[in-house]
Every structure is written in C-alpha cells, then in structure tokens.
Point group: C2
Chain length 384, copies 2
C-alpha cells in the first residue's frame, strides 16, 4: 500500500424527504445564492421542496448552468455573489451545477484570471461555503473537492480542485431522480463505473481492501444499474445507484493506490471538440484504453475478470479479452454506445486530440505517466 | 436502504514515517497534553518519534491509561488539563488510550458527575480538541466519535459518543505495530471482525453496496490477519490489517443499514466482571450469538456463508452451521479461544450477567431489540 492522507468533511443527508432538513445545515443569517441548471428542478418539484425548506431565508437565484459548465456562464454569477455579498452557495442539480458552483465559490475571492485556477491549478486561499441538493447520480461532485470546467472560447475542458471546494453538506434523495431522462441515468452509471476504474484498474500495490471496495461498487453498479433503468421509480435501485456514484469518487477508494485518469482526460477532449455527453466519452474511451493497455494493466485485468465477471478459466489472454468485451457490452446494454462512429465522429479527430494533448505540455498520462500522444492515437483508433 | 446522515471529519495520515508530519496538524501555539498507556511507546521508539515531531512545543504528559480505561484513572488528567489550561490532547496508543483521551476531552468542560456522560449519554456542549497516533489496529477509535469507559468502583463498562469526540487527525504508521505482542494483534483482528458483524449481520434492507463493503473488510481480515501474525514485521499485512480495523468502525458501513451491538454489550459485561480482553469476549460471544440467533439472522447468514466462506451448496441449515463453525475456527486459528471455559469462567456468571443487563432497564438488545435477558442467558450457555 502507498502512503496516503485522507479526509472528507462532507456531511451526507441521504434518503426520502431529506431536502426538508436543508434549513438546519445553512447558517441562519446566511445570504444564500441558489444555483441551478436548465430549470428541470422547477418541473419536478425539487425547487419547491428547496424553497419550502428555506422559507424566510435571504435567497437569490442563478439559473442556466449548462452541462459541461462554461466559465463564460459562471462569471456573471461570480459578480452577483460579490455585488450582493452572498456568503452561502446552494447548488441544486447534477454534477455540472455542482462543479459550476464550486468554480463560482472559488472565483469570488480569486485575484487574477480565474481560468488560471483551472489550467494552472493556482492555489486558493478562500472560497464561499457551499452545499448541494443532488438531482443526478453520476459525478461524485457532491462528496469531493473537484470540478471540471469548460472554457468555451478556447474549447477547453479541464479539471481542478481544492480542499476549499468540498460541499459543507449534500442532500441525496433518490426520489428526485425518478423523473430524469433515462439517458442521464445511463450516463451516470457509466460515469460512476469509469470513476472506479480510474482508481482501480492500474497495477497491484498490495491494497486488498481498496481493491475489494472498488469491486464492491462495480458489482453493485452492474447489478443495480439495469434495475434503475427498467423501473425509474423503483426507490431501492435508484438509492443504490446514488450511493455507488458518491462512493465512486469521494477519494476513499483512491487512498493508498495508484490512479490513472487517462480515460477522463481523453474524454474531456472529445466533449470539448464534439459535444458528446461526459458519460458517452467514457463509454467510448474506457474499453479502447483497456484494449491498448492490456499488457500494462494485465494483473489487475485478470483480477477484475475473475472477481467482477467470474471469468476464472481459459488462458489469461482470453480472460482479459472476455472482461473487456463484457465491460463494453455492459455500457451498450445500459444504452450508451461505445464507438465514436455511433456519435458521428470520424478518424479526423484523432490527430487533433493527440496534438492538443501534446501542446498542453503533458509528459504522459496514466498511472505510470506512460501514455504518450502516440498511445492516445492508438486508443482513439481502437474507439472508432 | 434506510435513510441516514453520514459525516466523518477525521484526517488520516497513513503510512511509513507519517509521525513526522504530526507537527503541522496541531496548532502552533497549542498547550498539548500527550496521553499514553503502560509505557510501551517508550520502549518501541514511538515516543521518541512523537517528541521529535513536536520539538519546541509546549507539551505535558499523562501516562498510565490502562486497557479498558477506568474513569478513576482519567479524572486526575481532567484536573491536569484544567489546571494547566491544556487546549490540545494527543493520544499515543491503542483504542484504550484513545477512548480514555476522548473521555478526558469531553469531561473537561462537563458540569456535574462525568459518569453521567457515559451512563446517561448526557449531551456535550464543548470538548478539548484531540489527535491520535495509533499504535494498535483494533478498535477503530482513531476514526470515530465513540469511547468505551469502565467505572471500576461500580464494575461497569459502557460506551458513549459525541460528534465533539472525533479526533482532528489520526496518524496510522503500520511499522509501529511490529513490536506488539501477538496476543494484541490477534485480539485486534477479532475486534475489527466483530465490528463489521455488528453492522452487517442483521437483516437485509436492500443495501448491496454496504453489504459488499462489509464483506470486503471480512475477506481482507481473513486473508491478511493470519499473515500479520506469521510475519510481525511484514509491512503490507500490518498495513492492510490497520486500514481494515479503521474502516470497520468509522461509521461508513453502518450508513443506511440496521445495527446489532448485542455481542459488544454482552462482552463488556464479561470484561467488567472477569477482566477478559475485549477481543477475547467478542470471540466468545459472537459465535454463540450466531448459534442462538440463526433464525433471526437467517438471510444474512446465508449471504455471509456464500460470499465470505464460499459455502454455496447443501441445505440452508448446513450452510449456516458451516459459516458459524468457520467463524469460530477463524478466531481460534488466530489464537483467540472462543469458549468461556478456556478463560476459567464457569456457568455461575450467566445469571449475574443477565441480571445486570435487566437491572439497567434495557428493553432489548440487537437489531430488532428482541434479545431479552433470557436470550442473553441462552447465548452465554452456548459460549461455555
């Protein structure tokens, strides 16, 4: 096991009716900004539940935070927070609203070009405290200090993080997911699965508890994901999916083990260039990356094949191929295509993405920093 | 899944050499009281590492906190903290030192009889902040808000807890366990195993991730526990055992599921009356409780038999009996006897324990509050 530091101060309020508990989690005299996305929270009753829980509080609103939230959309909110002396942000939405709100929280007190926080990881000294009401199980943003922000002008989509960006609390009521489009649920299943993979599918460091906890999430996603699609108002499957997605990226399973994140970095480029949903890019890149990196990940792939897909006989090569094929089939089965061609993206994107990654000066992606732009090219070729 | 709230603010510093990081976790101008036990930290070098990390700091010491820490031993430290205006407690030791230090932290600002905090769960308004350097993987106290305290005069041993009793940080360096007596390691394996059982071996509520995470800890204890005994200075096995023990009782696997705790409550009586080690009492009570409660726990016992011991054929009754027998054999194999008679305790203790539990006015123990003093009697008969 590798040395590690772990801390996660986020308070989770999980279950039916928990939005009503919101009031006690926000300081009584706070000046609150409620942030949200395209307005679905007004159609599905979540907005009304939040307003009821915060009756009598000083509350402003800022809507319109889009999927893959853009800095250009968020900067006016930063101004609003400063002008109105807002001192608590309440994000009501999915990962994009949460990530966008984290950016707002961080940018308010940041001096200089706020894109430097993202692209250079410029350190933060202060951030506005924030809380969240999660409406979409997927990103894990509700219990981590990370955000992924798009600079629309530059067509860049990049992650950043700071301990100041942990939500103070997150409310997770599985019932609010009942009205979500199935495409978003399916993307969420793939996103959570890919998050686990970034922290699990590397090389062994003798950390069996972390491995088994990662496998616990994968097995539960494989079991509960299809149920959560088949019966949209089945509480238990949605609850289990929601808790899986949170546990998949709250940094716990990363404690003491190597991490990859190449799938995400390549996927972000595809979204920035072609507008695919985040989950769709992961469904495309992840199986292709496994195919190209099957030697580097050999030991963990064999473990994954045995423990998750019960592939315990046949040659190692066959077991690995079987595990990759089943992973791809799982993504397809929940309704997320795993080939770039299914989204109308052709091979012409490959040199563009490789060039963009190279230009950014990265010396290598993945758990051993071995993935060069040339290997990115091969991964993308395998994903066509 | 049941509704739940989850938060755990403890910062973990895990790995080789992490004691050297201690200084940055304690406010620079703090007046620190270092608490410890029988002095083994002075023999094994931990004390020197801690002193080196805190060179130049204002530091007093209070040693002599015994296993099953007694209120009578802790009250002089409460006076010392008040008199010397100590504002940070640093516990260096195992679960008993940590629990004792939590009691000190809570008692300093408590008005009235401090035993009321324990026996009545009187609410706390303030506590002295504390940190820990863990030397013995077992109790999980390093990442939870609980303590178990003995009132020697009354021969009572009872748990209590408060969010104010979370350590600010805990340092977990597996190397400091190399010099521990094997009996303590063995007790720690049983303790961590029993902690998981109290949160897992109840009845199903459709919480498959929590179940699999609990099983992940059990499987890892079964795999790594014997290794950690066979090679006392094998880093990886000790590291894995240490992380298992922490994860077994940091409240994460309890999120959204029922809990039992009857094994612990009965075990505490045995320690209070006969002085057995905590882990020994759990090794005695746990298999006997499973035997008596096999119908109430039927579904989870079958799941446990299949997933942890791979008992998937034969009648349900045989699989359950096999799982209980293997649990008992595992405790015996790590060197902790599972029969009261092995510790020289006879049947005369049975009515005494049943009477004590009854006198305390408990309406019932266990996940359904069904365990009456009469059932306690049967459990103890099965443990002779």
């Amino acid at each position: 096991m590798l040395n590690f530091e772990f801390v996660n101060p986020v308070k989770i309020l999980f279950g039916k009716g928990q939005i009503a508990q919101l009031g006690k989690e926000i300081p009584r005299r706070a000046r609150i900004l409620l942030t949200y996305g395209g307005g679905s929270i007004k159609a599905n009753g979540v907005y009304d539940q939040v307003r009821a829980a915060l009756q009598g509080r000083r509350l402003l609103e800022y809507g319109g935070i889009e999927p893959n939230p853009r800095m250009e959309t968020l900067l006016p909110a930063v101004e609003l927070v400063r002008r109105e002396r807002i001192n608590f942000l309440l994000a009501v939405g999915g990962g994009s609203v949460l990530d966008g709100t984290k950016f707002i929280a961080a940018a308010v007190h940041f001096r200089g070009d706020p894109w430097d926080m993202v692209v250079q990881g410029a350190p933060l000294r202060q951030a506005v405290p924030l809380g969240a009401v999660l409406t979409l199980p997927a990103s894990g943003s509700e219990m981590n200090p990370f955000a992924v922000i798009t600079n629309w002008q530059r067509r860049e989509k990049l992650p950043f993080g700071s301990p100041l960006m942990y939500p103070r609390f997150s409310v997770l009521d599985p019932e609010v997911t009942f009205s979500l489009p199935l495409r978003q649920i399916a993307n969420g299943i793939v996103d959570a699965f890919a998050h686990v993979f970034e922290q699990y599918m590397t090389f062994p460091v003798n950390a069996p508890l972390q491995d088994r906890m990662a496998e616990a999430i994968l097995l539960t996603l494989i079991e509960e994901g299809p149920k959560s699609l088949a019966d949209p108002s089945g509480y238990d499957a949605r609850a289990n999916l929601m808790w899986c997605a949170t546990m998949a990226l709250n940094t716990l399973i990363a404690a003491g083990v190597p991490q990859d994140w190449a799938t995400h970095m390549i996927g972000h480029e595809i979204t920035a260039l072609h507008g695919l949903d985040h989950g769709q890019t992961l469904a495309v890149v992840l199986p292709a990356l496994l195919e190209v990196r099957r030697e580097a990940k050999r030991e963990k792939l064999l473990q994954y094949a045995a423990r998750v897909w019960k592939l315990e006989s046949g040659t190692p090569a066959r077991r690995i191929a079987g595990a990759i094929a089943r992973t791809r089939a799982f993504f397809e089965a929940v309704g997320v295509p795993t080939r770039l061609s299914a989204y109308g993206v052709g091979p012409e994107t490959i040199p563009v993405i490789a060039r963009r990654l190279k230009k950014r000066g990265w010396t290598g992606l993945g758990e051993r920093k071995e993935i060069t732009p040339e290997i990115v090219r091969r991964i993308l070729e395998a994903s066509l």
